[in-house]
């Protein structure tokens, strides 16, 4: 499961080869190995520990798709000491990266041949983006793809350009965007994700993949269930404080599971079995 090389706690050096300012507080970092290649191969949904030495280390989901053979990308929202430091870095700076850690979305098994419904809020798009792009690059393996994405405002929509230019134009893909409050220059939908979800009313012939702030997940889950989705049909990724990434340091332990090793991707019926501590 873990292809992190000889030593699971010693990282590799990653060089930042590109930075995109997505929203006022989200930047996407493109990371390469120092010799230019990719750091490692990963699967959609997996995470990696990114570290600014001397500051701190944190688990971030890899937002680029495995089908991208050139680099890895991390979309990171500025909200703490580490992320603030990361945002101050420039192209050419080096960070340390170890991973990939955790499991992945079952894109090659359960998802295959199915219709997929992605529901994301804010920075919650980051882990889903790798899945979406993976599916789009292997389009023939999947059925209809619906993407419902909402954010606080139009400025806070991550990867808007890619959404408009790639996703919206892809065959048999429907993208629904929404923002929380009315805003000048926005002619799209306004309203919270869970409400919009009910308005659209998806049929239950698909697999739901949800990621966003906990409160959104809670209401989206409710909405999906009202529509007739079962727990086995819905996937999400969890996030907890992590230090080792390999299921040993004990932080992300919930019940007998470690989010870093057994997760971060869980099906809702699996989550139901865990003690309510996440």
């Amino acid at each position: 499961m873990c292809n992190c090389g000889h030593d699971s706690l010693v990282p590799q050096i990653g060089i930042i080869t590109g930075i995109t300012q997505e929203t006022p507080d989200v930047k996407t970092f493109r990371v390469n190995a120092p010799d230019g290649g990719k750091l490692f191969e990963h699967m959609p949904g997996q995470c990696a520990m990114v570290c600014v030495p001397g500051v701190s280390e944190g688990m971030f989901s890899i937002t680029s798709s495995p089908t991208n053979k050139e680099f890895q990308e991390f979309s990171i929202k500025k909200c703490g000491i580490l992320t603030e430091q990361l945002h101050s870095l420039q192209v050419g700076d080096e960070v340390t990266v170890r991973g990939p850690y955790g499991n992945n979305f079952p894109v090659e098994t359960e998802f295959k041949g199915k219709n997929l419904l992605f529901i994301a809020g804010g920075i919650g798009l980051a882990p889903l983006r790798s899945v979406i792009n993976y599916c789009l690059d292997n389009r023939e393996n999947y059925g209809r793809i619906d993407i419902l994405y909402g954010s606080r405002s139009a400025d806070d929509l991550v990867k808007l350009k890619e959404i408009q230019e790639v996703w919206m134009k892809a065959p048999n893909v429907n993208v629904y965007l929404t923002i929380d409050r009315e805003q000048e220059g926005w002619d799209g939908h306004v309203g919270f994700v869970p409400t919009y979800l009910k308005e659209i009313g998806f049929s239950t012939d698909c697999i739901g993949i949800v990621c966003g702030p906990p409160i959104m997940i809670k209401f989206v889950l409710q909405g999906l269930k009202e529509m007739g989705f079962t727990d086995e049909q819905i996937y999400t990724t969890l996030e907890l404080r992590m230090k080792c990434g390999i299921g040993k340091c004990g932080r992300c332990n919930i019940g007998s599971k470690f989010v870093c090793k057994d997760g971060p991707v869980f099906r809702f019926d699996q989550i139901d079995e865990l003690p309510n501590e996440y």
């Binding site: 030495p53 192209v91 050419g92 404080r241």
Partner: protein, 368 residues
């Protein structure tokens, strides 16, 4: 089976220490703790007194360096033009120097059967994929000389977890030893143990295997008399998450808990750790140190999650030892060494937790 007079132990220790590092309980400022043997260190009473911390330090030290990072920062204006090619302008250049793994044999003397079982528990965690190489190297080079408990204490309850304190040769130790009168009986178990024995053979006299029988019988009879060895683990173990997690007993018993880390640090099986950076003169040292699930900052995230109250943290520790760990590795991660029983500032401990649940069950049964 071999033997050596207890009064000659110092000779034995210095002989062992000649060839490799020797870790053993040492009396220091009134307390017994495992430490590295040095000429003249105080070994008075180390055979009969329980150490404050278990010997897990020898394999999983409280503090260890993982690697060092050297940072070379080049200001942008000092960059040569050539370097600016291909979108890669060098600013902060890093080099990583991983700490060398343990590559020399060492001997740890005086672990009890419970301590050795504790190492077995740590093995489950650190040696499953992905393997922790720092731990593995220590484990491979460590030679455990275990000692039968001559005088078990009232806080001991290792037999509850199927550990035999009287016969360490049943444990994963390399050498088992017993105190028999004025002598220490010495029995190599594994190849590593045989090799060590060979090195010190000149100091040992041979003895009959039956020499330790009386000692084993004696210890076993003492264990029977101890109050905590009757503890029942019924209702704990695999698959009891829902039942135990949602019990309201936790709320009733946790109040005295201070949220200090004493129980976790003296525990032979607690393995939670923290990874932190320390900026030194010429680089950044990344180290790992023990951490405790009892601390409020253990799982704290920017959003304030999770396990925000002491009762949750308290529950986590015992659930982990008695339910989650069995779920995952098919063994309890408590070995009944009784250290938390001795050392908790508020006299709260795993025995009281188990008993509280037992009482609750009884009361519930009586009410039905």
């Amino acid at each position: 089976m071999y033997k050596i007079a207890i009064k000659d132990l110092n000779t034995l220790f210095s002989k062992i220490a000649e060839e490799q590092e020797l870790i053993l309980p040492i009396k220091k400022a009134g307390q017994y703790n495992f430490g590295v043997y040095e000429e003249g260190c105080d070994i008075d009473g180390i055979l009969t007194n329980k150490t404050v911390k278990s010997g897990k330090d020898a394999f999983f030290p409280q503090f260890e360096t993982l690697y060092n990072v050297r940072k070379k920062i080049t200001p942008a204006d000092e960059l040569e033009n050539g370097e600016e090619a291909a979108n890669t302008k060098i600013r902060t250049k890093l080099t990583i120097e991983a700490e060398a793994l343990k590559d020399k044999d060492f001997v740890i003397f005086g672990m009890r059967a419970c301590d050795v079982k504790g190492v077995e528990v740590l093995d489950q965690v650190f040696l499953t994929d992905p393997v922790d190489n720092y731990y593995k190297a220590r484990r491979e080079h460590g030679i455990i000389v275990a000692l039968a408990c001559h005088e078990p204490e009232e806080s001991c309850f290792c037999t509850v977890f199927g550990i035999d304190p009287a016969d360490p040769s049943k444990s994963k130790a390399d050498v088992a030893t017993w105190i028999v009168g004025e002598e220490l009986c010495w029995k190599p178990i594994t190849e590593k143990g045989e090799a060590l024995t060979k090195k010190i053979e000149s100091l040992l006299a041979s003895a009959d295997d039956s020499a330790v029988d009386a000692e084993i019988a004696n210890i076993t009879s003492i264990m029977d008399k101890l109050p905590n060895t009757k503890l029942s683990l019924e209702g704990w173990g695999k698959g009891k998450t829902d039942e135990k997690f949602n019990s309201d007993v936790w709320q009733k018993i946790y109040t005295p808990c201070l949220g200090c880390g004493t129980c976790t640090f003296v525990c032979p099986t607690c393995q939670c750790y923290d990874i932190k950076d320390y900026t030194t003169k010429d680089g950044i040292q990344r180290y790992r140190c023990w951490d405790s699930c009892m601390y409020s900052d253990f799982t704290l995230m920017a959003g304030g999650q999770n396990r925000t109250s002491q009762v949750q943290r308290f529950r986590q520790r015992f659930m982990h030892k008695l339910v989650y760990f069995p779920d995952r590795y098919d063994m309890y991660s408590c070995v009944g060494c009784g250290r938390c029983v001795d050392k908790c500032p508020q006299s709260l401990n795993i025995v009281k937790v188990i008993k509280a649940f037992e009482n609750e069950q009884k009361e519930a049964g009586a009410n039905v």
